[in-house]
Amino acid sequence: MPVIPKDFDDIPGTYLFERNRSREGYHLNMFCMSLMKDENRKAFLADEAKYLDDFPMTAEQRRCVLERDYLGMVKVGGNIYYTSKLGATSGHSFQYMAGEMSGLGQEKYRDMMVNGGRSIEGNRSKSEKE
């Protein structure tokens, strides 16, 4: 029985939070988790680079955090329920973050959702998409 189905990678624009991403993203996600406390949010916003020194992240993970590159975070092991803490700290809603990640921007993304969301047709697999 395959523990991690290889078909995960065939879903377009989707980064399932399996063991590899969980291991890679541990410190990034635990940094986000620290933002659950108000005093930590304040300390982070006061000096972001210094605050990040306490978390042994990769250079790319640091860049993603400092630039609020939400799609980039997901690609280096960030999980949306963790990175949303950084979003909240930065005044970015789930919808803003989703708009950024989808490449549409918040306004176009919001319009797409009001009109019924992204269609499943053509979005099931990479081969179907291409």
Partner: protein, 277 residues
Amino acid sequence: MAKILGGLCTSHVPAIGAAIDQGLTQEPYWKPLFDGYEPAREWLKEVAPDVIILVYNDHATAFSLELIPTFAIGVSDKFQPADEGWGPRPVPTVYSDSELAWHLSESLILDEFDMTMVNKMDVDHGLTVPLNIACGEPDEWPCKVIPLAVNVVQYPPPTGKRCFNLGRSIRRAVDSYDQDLKVVVFGTGGMSHQLHGERAGLINSEWDKQFLDKLSSNPKALTEIPFLEYVTEAGAEGIELVMWLIMRGALNDEVKEVYRHYHVPASNTATGLIILE
């Protein structure tokens, strides 16, 4: 004897909580959604349960990557609304029936469901938003609430079949509880939605509707849905729907559908609500 009188499943979108907290429920964007909650609130008032067993998932709030319980049950007598990054929601403290929660834990574990028992955990929007949806905005929640948290964040979540069977076991545990209590089971999360990646915003209404149909009439078919179908068809975060099967497992094989409400969108999500007796 304690008795399960029915079940309610609903989405638990954080933006629904934010709309309530910011007084936006009558705005054009939100009004159709909230209007659809009225019959559910009437139903719950009429049933007037003593206890709600509320199945939800913790969104990296009480649990993090430090500790990932597949099934966790709150056993203490109260739980505070969590600070999820923007301060705690202004909702009442959640009071629980600790004695029943302990009975559930013991029964479930002896029935071979190895629950993690939790005395201290803050509860996030996954639990408080469904309470608002079903109870409005009271100063105190109208009954006791036992939190039952399921891991659906870190792969692998429990299978749909496992969840359904946990519901079965909850039913046996409640039926064997020696106090006259009216119990309702909530399953929460879903429906189709994807919050991350370039595919964010995915909605699959057709798939959602057949899920709602089968939840009443053919839940066994739903227990066969594999992980990959949930994430492909209902979006990566649509996997939360396995929690609805816990509620369904706790009810009779034959049920009556009392009410259904389906609305797109609430923020990123297709929202559903269904009540079964």
